[in-house]
Amino acid sequence: MIVAEQKPLDEIKNLLGDSQRVLVAGCGTCVTVCFAGGAKEAGILGSLLRMAAQLDGHPKAVTEVTVQRQCEWEYLDAIRDQVESADVVVSLGCGVGAQALAEHFPEKVVVPGLNTKFMGLPAEHGEWVERCAACGNCLLGLTGGICPIARCSKQLLNGPCGGSSHGKCEITCGDSQPDCAWQLIYDKLKAQGRLHLIMEITPPKDWRTSRDGGPRKIVRKDLKLPGTEIKE
């Protein structure tokens, strides 16, 4: 899933400026599951913004709505009336959802209420970890199902570097050291009797499939509707 975190309230307040009518738009998919931007969080943020505006002496009309997926046009069509009656929309979707709103309602001011962090999973209750960097050419078949692009701090393909110690990476993220991805890869492949997979030198990666090749796009001719133009 896409994992996100809510921005500090002061930052969101500043983004709203003097706008009177505010719509907080939640999203029912990834950010609901990671407790950052679902219906519940939209309700809480709406209340906080109302209270803050009251305390500041400039009350605002704040409403909330949550769509199933902010990143698809058809779900956005369903909230057209609420969007059009607001001066500003605070998107509690990920960066994709916020941009979809802004693109679908070009006259409307859309501001982000979240910081989109990564693609990952909940490792335990209240803790999410990154698992995929969307490099566009999956290596997991060679690395025991553990991604060195997303999980090695240096994205090594022939690791681990000399900083691997007791299963941990040499760097500190936040207040802890992440696991050494290459220790995990080694342990997994050894246990599976498949160390031969990393005995060979992995050649340099073609990063064109990643963000380095520019904004990415997939065209599936088989899924195109009849009569639509096919651009590649």
């Binding site: 240096k154 994205q155 090594l156 690791g159 000399g162 342990d187 005995m199």
Partner: protein, 332 residues
Amino acid sequence: MSDTNGSPSNLEMVLKSGQFAVTAELGPPKNADAKAVRHKAGLLRGYVDAVNITDNQTAVVRMSSIAAGVLAWQEGLEPVIQMTCRDRNRLAMQSDLLGAYALGMQNILCLSGDHQTFGNHPQAKNVHDIDSLQLVQMVVGLRDRGRFQCGEEIKGTNPCFFVGAAENPFADPFDWRPYRLAKKAKAGADFIQTQMIFNVPRFREFMQRVVELGVHQQTRILAGVGPLKSAAAARYMRDHVPGMDMPDAIIERMEAAGQGIEDKNLRAAACKEEGIKICVETIEQMRDIEGVAGLHLMAMEWEEAVPIIASRAGLLPRPNFSQESAPCPAPN
């Protein structure tokens, strides 16, 4: 191993002659002062076969390793240019390799690079377009295949470096390290410099496996050693340097060296003397380990210790093949 088109470097000649090689390290200054490099080079000249010029070591901005390498060579000290994968992509690295060779550099050491969060620009974006193994392959490809990494032919002079890589025998997973070293040899590394060794029995264990795999016949391994200045430095290495194996016995020796000495300067001198003693003892043990072809003597910001250690460990005089290698470019 290399079959260079150009003249071999002094380091290559020493290693190929079968003599026990000695390299040291020179950290460029955090400013644009050429004199600082020349001064350090002067301290090391004649006592080592070549000197590594670090590349923004510990991810702190310093004078470029290539520029400082040229300055060192002008002082008569053969450089090994360190190149990390942290700050440059494959275009910039190859461009710098062409430039370094054009300026007379002949040795290169290929490294991943310390993570930028350890340095003075933790906000920086890191590159890691390729890793250290792939860098070895790329430099070897420029030399032996006369081709850029993309496969395109180099028309005209190709850079013929003597190519080195590093390995940390003490990092985890310990069992995997000899195989990773074997991958570096397979990638074409002519020589290997190891992390600093304090735990000699552990290093012996590592080397035994390396020899069993026959890797010592595919590349030349220089054991990393260095003098400690104080017990505090030893403890810092144990606690804060990733992948460093510092036995308690070494720390205790360093602590005992300073005990009972009231005068601060005398105490520091006694500790330094003990550090040098430990280093010399370690060197003596390295000479007996099968597969060790030489030493990499790291005395960071303590270059004065190198001649003392080299002398006491019986490493002098150094052979000099520089007459037979490419002449040093005269400063203009």
